[in-house]
């Protein structure tokens, strides 16, 4: 369990980077950490990982203060930084063995665990390669393997999805599910809000160094806008069909047979059934809705998707 209490960090005296943050990440819970660039996500995560010192406040990892009981607290937390920087001239396996030494693993145990993890993050064939030859995505995967080395009960993942290919993102989905099942506490920051919404049990919104709100995914869906975007492709589209669809909201007709309802609040299945009943050939029906993005933008008072947010 991760407990953040009155966590404050000043880099300069004029304004805090984070200001009196209070929130928890419970065991068996994946918490999404969402905010614009400079909101304080990385600062918070770095303090939790023990690599940065808070100006005030505490972070407790399974009850241990990350500053005062650093070694014991760090034993229970794994960290994946946004931009992993490790010894560039070391070989992947050697570095894993080096870090395993901090966890008191014996030679054979360290080797077995390291090889297993490198294989899991698809770096098994690169274990004898030097880190400097790795791509950013490979470094990210290597960093994930390092974070999992001691099978920690808590994980802080900073923009873990950045730099990962689709297969990597799929792996992360499975991993977070496994971690949740395993009772791990996971704090996950990302700009890919749809993924955060998909992976998280709860989302903590941070803006300008302050926590705006903390909502479960269910609460988010309730509070979020019920509207989404419905795209309907009809082979025999005519004015009557467009008129019917317009009854649900503002429409755009594209390419002669594709209609988009920009703010759709109804039931997509019912629309499909009615169109078929009226004799229209519906060849495509897509409904897109991101309650997280909508809610977040409302929360921070930003109109339209921010440059650093991806749906």
């Amino acid at each position: 369990m991760l407990e953040f209490r009155q966590l404050t960090k000043y880099f300069s005296w004029d304004a805090p980077a984070i200001d009196a943050l209070n929130f928890d990440v419970n065991d068996g819970e994946v918490v999404g950490f969402v905010g614009l660039n400079g909101a304080g996500k990385t600062t918070t995560i770095r303090i939790a990982a023990g690599v940065s010192l808070p100006t005030e406040g505490t972070v407790r990892v399974d009850g241990r203060d990350i500053v005062k009981e650093k070694a014991a607290a760090s034993r229970s937390i794994g960290w994946v930084p946004e931009f992993p920087i490790v010894e560039p001239n070391a070989k992947a396996l050697d570095l894993m063995l080096y870090f395993a030494g901090f966890h008191g693993m014996t030679g054979s145990e360290a080797r077995r665990r390291s090889e297993e993890l490198l294989s899991t993050v698809r770096l098994g064939e690169f274990e004898r390669k030097r880190i400097r030859t790795f791509s950013q995505g490979m470094k990210k995967r290597f960093s994930l393997a390092l974070a999992l080395l001691s099978d920690p009960k808590n994980l802080v993942l900073d923009e873990i999805l950045n730099g990962l290919d689709p297969e990597g993102i799929h792996y992360m989905r499975e991993l977070t599910a496994d971690l949740r099942k395993g009772g791990r506490a996971v704090l996950l920051s990302s700009h890919i809000l749809a993924e955060v919404e998909h992976l998280s049990d709860r989302v903590v919104f941070i803006h300008k160094g302050r926590i705006l709100e903390s909502l479960t995914t269910e609460e988010l869906r309730t509070r979020g806008s019920p509207e989404g975007m419905l795209r309907v492709g009809i082979s025999n589209l005519d004015e009557k069909a467009v008129s019917y669809l317009r009854s649900f909201g503002e429409t755009r007709v594209e390419g002669g047979n594709l209609v988009t309802i920009v703010r759709f609040a109804g039931d997509p299945a019912s629309v499909n059934a009615e169109l078929v009943r009226r004799g229209y050939a519906v060849r495509e029906l897509t409904y897109q809705r991101s309650s997280l993005e909508e809610y977040f933008l409302k929360l921070v008072g930003v109109t339209g998707a921010g440059g650093d947010l991806q749906q």
Partner: protein
């Protein structure tokens, strides 16, 4: 490798820059060898002789050049001007691969002729000789004008000289360079020698009026060798026993018929038979080591510490690599201490090896190890310097966030503390009007040794040798009483402890209190 400390030691000691510095410092250890190697007695450079004779065809000049080993030197230019009542005549000769050159001037023999010679090496060395009345020769019959065809030496090192043996520089040979009449090779002529014992024969000059000999017969001289060319080298004859100090060896060339020539020389036995250097005393071995440690080793230790600590900590700190380690279950203090100790251990091993090299070389050349009361304090002083500079650099790396500033500041510290420290003291003495070499200046100088970790070895040496030394200043070799200047075992130990503790404490404080 699962022990992080051992990994850090390995990482430090195998980094390229540290390996390079270790190699440099071990190689520097070999620089003590010249302190135990006697220099050759022959002076390097050009030796030359210019002979001349005249006949009906004119004046003829023969030049010979050789180096300190008696080997021919080619390319030497001999310029000559010859003036007689008809005017000035010029000629030149360049020595060939045999170290010989020849020139002739078609002038009629004249008692009032004058010559001027200039011998010039390619490197610029030049020797000049001139004579107002050409070809006056000094023989056992007195000074007289040379006869037609009679070869005389106009300029040069001498007909019989001493050279260093080319194979064994501890031995000396005798080189005979002589030209027979009419410029011919002296084939068949022979060199003879005789030892003149200073005690039994009355000393060096007893035979000054006897030699050169007119005739070999009855001289008691022994054959050295037969000449078959213009220039020939003979090994020094077997040394006679029981010769008193100041004894000499007389060597003269005789014609085949036993007539003495004016090619002769007298050598001091002590010069021709250099004795092996006296065995190195323990105090000399100690003194050599102290000077070497302070003036050469001491210069590089701070550089090794600065480069090594940057490589093992500073670089990781500014690049962010250290954060990946800090995220592991280790406290900030433990990590900092681990990096500090691993860097120190790696470099301490290198310094101990280098000091060991110096000690082994000393033993190889002198049969003596440097005394433990020199080598142990000196090694301890190096350890203090290492620890101080590692601590300083690591503390600075907590304050600076770019490699450029950290490396720049490290180099700056090295330059100021090591190279320009003496000049800063001079400046300070100048500003405060303290006379150079005065007691206040020595006090300032020693006080500065307490304040500069790079000078800690000098402070220890001040205590060991009871003198102050500097590559910048000459203190006239005057001895001091160290305690008069506050240099005692306790003050040195306290200073060393502070130089270890303060930078380390600053580093640990900054590493636990500052991102």
């Amino acid at each position: 490798m699962t022990n992080p400390f051992v990994y850090d030691v390995k990482k430090t000691i195998t980094s390229k820059s540290v390996l390079l510095l270790i190699a440099v410092i071990v190689l520097i250890g070999f620089a003590i060898i010249p302190a135990y190697t006697p220099a050759g007695s022959s002076q390097p450079g050009l030796n030359d002789n210019v002979f001349a004779y005249y006949d009906s065809a004119g004046y003829h000049f023969l030049a010979f050049t050789w180096n300190q080993f008696g080997q021919p030197v080619s390319g030497v230019d001999v310029q000559l001007n010859f003036t007689d009542p008809t005017g000035t005549h010029s000629g030149s000769a360049v020595t060939n691969s045999s170290g010989a050159g020849q020139a002739s001037i078609p002038a009629t023999a004249n008692v009032n002729a004058a010559y001027a010679l200039a011998v010039q090496q390619p490197g610029g060395y030049e020797s000049i000789s001139s004579g107002q009345q050409a070809f006056w020769v000094y023989t056992q019959n007195g000074s007289q004008l040379a006869l037609p065809g009679q070869t005389v030496l106009l300029l040069g090192s001498g007909t019989v000289t001493q050279v260093t043996d080319g194979q064994d520089s501890s031995r000396q040979d005798i080189l005979v360079n002589w030209v027979a009449d009419f410029g011919k090779e002296p084939s068949g002529s022979q060199a003879y020698y005789k030892f003149v014992n200073a005690s039994s024969d009355g000393g060096f000059c007893i035979d000054c009026f006897t030699y050169p000999l007119k005739n070999l017969t009855g001289s008691g001289m022994l054959p050295l060798g037969t000449l078959d060319s213009f220039r020939q080298t003979f090994g020094a004859p077997p040394l006679e026993p029981h010769l008193a100090d100041g004894s000499t060896v007389f060597v003269q060339v005789f014609l085949p018929n036993g007539t003495g020539t004016d090619a002769y020389a007298t050598f001091l036995v002590a010069s021709l038979y250099p004795q092996p250097p006296p065995p190195v005393s323990q105090s000399q071995a100690n003194s050599n080591a102290i000077g070497f440690f302070e003036n050469l080793f001491g210069l590089f230790i701070p550089l090794v510490a600065i480069a090594g600590s940057y490589d093992s900590y500073g670089k990781d700190r500014v690049s962010g690599v250290l954060e990946s380690v800090l995220a592991q279950p280790i406290s900030r203090r433990s990590l900092s201490l681990s990096r500090y100790l691993s860097s120190f251990a790696a470099m301490a091993v290198a310094v101990v090896v280098a000091v060991g090299v110096v000690d082994l070389i000393t033993f190889h050349y002198s049969g003596l190890f440097v005394a433990s009361n020199v080598i142990l304090p000196s090694t301890a002083a190096f350890m203090v310097e290492l620890a101080a500079f590692i601590g300083i650099m690591m503390a600075l790396s907590r304050l600076l966030r770019s490699s450029g500033s950290l490396v720049g500041l490290g180099i700056g510290l090295f330059i100021i503390f090591d190279f320009f420290w003496g000049f800063l003291l001079v400046l300070l003495a100048y500003v405060t009007k303290i006379g150079m070499g005065s007691v206040p200046f020595i006090r300032l100088f020693i006080g500065a040794e307490f304040l500069n970790p790079a000078q800690f070895i000098a402070l220890v040496d001040t205590y060991l040798t009871h003198s102050v030394s500097s590559v910048v200043f000459s203190f006239g070799g005057s001895l001091i009483i160290p305690s008069d200047y506050g240099v005692t075992v306790w003050s040195i130990a306290a200073t060393g402890a502070l130089w270890i503790a303060i930078p380390l404490a600053a580093f640990l404080y900054l590493s636990t209190r500052r991102d």
